[in-house]
Amino acid sequence: MHSSNPPHPYSDRPERAFWSKAAAAQHVTNISGLFDGVPGLEGCKIATAGSCFAQHIGKFLKSRGLPYLDYEPGPSFLSAEESARFGYGLFSCRYGNIYTARQLRQLFDEAFSKRKPQDAIWTKGNRYYDALRPGIEPPGASSAEEIAALRALHLARVRALFSDLDLFVFTLGLTEAWVSNLDDTVYPIAPGVIAGSYDPERYRFVNFRYNDVYEDMRYFVDALRAINPNARVLLTVSPVSLAATATDNHVLVATTYSKSVLRAVAGDLAADIPGVFYFPSYEIITGPPARHMFYNPDLRTVCDAGVATVMQHFFSNNGVAEEQAAASAAPRVERGFEHCEESQLDLTR
């Protein structure tokens, strides 16, 4: 007698639910169904922010002719490399890398006058730096007045951006951060690395946990929608490993912790909040189907092919017309090169 298997909970699951068929048997570039897309992406005014990996997303969105918002463009007399060095064109505003959810939350609050950081200007020699985006003016400024004025003008653009955008693409990068003991302001980079000086009396280390990150992101989404009710949010997690950890753990262990928390938060926010989406760039780069081939020799940064593959998956499920997609070539991405303050941790030992 020949009998069919009795039904079980996996019997009617789609092919993408099964590792052997959907992952093991597929080349990473052929994997399908990773992302269900963002409905109505075409025509959306898109803004980006986040850690260094998010810079690639913005470049590709621009290259595909999507209405990408750049509210603080660089002057045309700067070359592309010079613009990037001065923090232009990396994200939709010139906020530099926003590595943590807390940074994003406090940027929003500062832009809408809900908080004012007390220790926001750092020095190095006789030069002044915006402590909340110290990498965007590499030479620094000659006065604190200039930093304060430029920050006020920057915040005005950030306000306009949050008010105008339709889709906010945010890449979660880190859980580790350095915090002011004065008012809990979180910085993108430890004091002393680019500017400022490390004083344990003034600064402390924090490694945000799941609840912290979830609450910060939830706060941000709610606050964003309070001023822009139709705003949607697309979350990604950076596959770029930590350059260094301030925990006692091995940097590999610290990286896994950090990325695990961020990945879990991103997934839960997408599950909990309508209009919040998760795009699995992290899985595309770090998952076993990629066999680590998308990492540069430093095993940390992502190579051109990895970025291109991520974006191929992004566009393949977003209804962006092929002819529109093909109209412009992929932007030139310097191999393994993003403007990343955190990477300087490796250079300052």
């Binding site: 007399f77 030479p139 004025a149």
Partner: protein, 238 residues
């Protein structure tokens, strides 16, 4: 006869005309001057070689005319025009939409630009020239830099850029390069205060050609040649 060698970018031409207007006075004072002018881009990347006891300056890339200039008179005075020439930056059309942060309140529709960005561009324009000037100085020659006129009053309108933006860009650029020259110990021969008003050069001291945005008139050249002679030799020309 004491000798001045005036060389550099197109701002040398008004100085040359000014000298011609002063020929008799300079001859009475026992001063002569020669002039060598090449367009600004030639001076931005110059190679310097020792030739006998002198130095030969040649442009790495030539623009319009070859640049081949020899410095070999250690007892003479060399006056260079070039690194304080700001028009290459303030004429950029981006300034229709951008402004130095210091004037951003006056131009709220413009994107603010930090001093560091302007200083970076000034360094891009003049950095290699400054290296050459330092090498000339370090070889024992007396070299000074002549300041060109401020942007002409008619200049901003030619490029449809706000005058207040042009003046602010010019100020940051001159201050930065001035500081670099000062740090290298190379004196600047400044333009007299009466040759500019509110950061711009009035018509009297401006080249009369309607589309010229930044060169001085013969009167300006005459004023500057008097200034050069006064500051380098302590002689007041009548």
């Amino acid at each position: 006869m004491r000798m001045l060698h005036v060389f550099g970018d197109s701002h040398v031409s008004p100085l040359h005309r000014g000298k011609q207007a002063l020929n008799e006075a300079m001859a009475r004072a026992g001063i002569d001057a020669d002039f060598y002018v090449r367009q600004a881009p030639n001076w931005r990347n110059v190679r310097i070689n020792q030739i006998g006891k002198g130095l030969r300056l040649r442009a790495v890339c030539t623009w319009e005319q070859p640049l081949n200039y020899t410095i070999n008179q250690p007892d003479d005075i060399y006056v260079f025009s070039g690194p304080l020439h700001t028009a290459g930056l303030w004429r950029e059309l981006a300034w229709r939409e951008f402004c130095p942060w210091r004037v951003s309140e006056k131009f709220p529709a413009h994107h603010p630009v930090s001093d560091a960005v302007i200083e970076h561009m000034a360094e891009q324009h003049a950095g290699k020239t400054l290296e050459i000037l330092k090498e000339v100085k370090d070889r024992g020659y007396m070299i000074l830099v002549a300041e060109p006129p401020k942007p002409l009053k008619k200049g901003p309108a030619v490029d449809a850029i706000e005058p207040g933006v042009v003046v602010a860009v010019d100020q940051v650029y001159r201050r930065y390069i001035g500081g670099r020259l000062n740090a290298m110990g190379i004196p600047i021969i400044p333009i007299p205060d009466f040759t500019h008003e509110d950061g711009l050069t009035p018509d009297l001291y401006s080249d009369a050609r309607p589309d010229d945005t930044h060169h001085g008139s013969t009167i300006f050249g005459t004023v500057m040649m008097k200034q050069i002679v006064q500051l380098t030799m302590g002689i007041t020309l009548d």
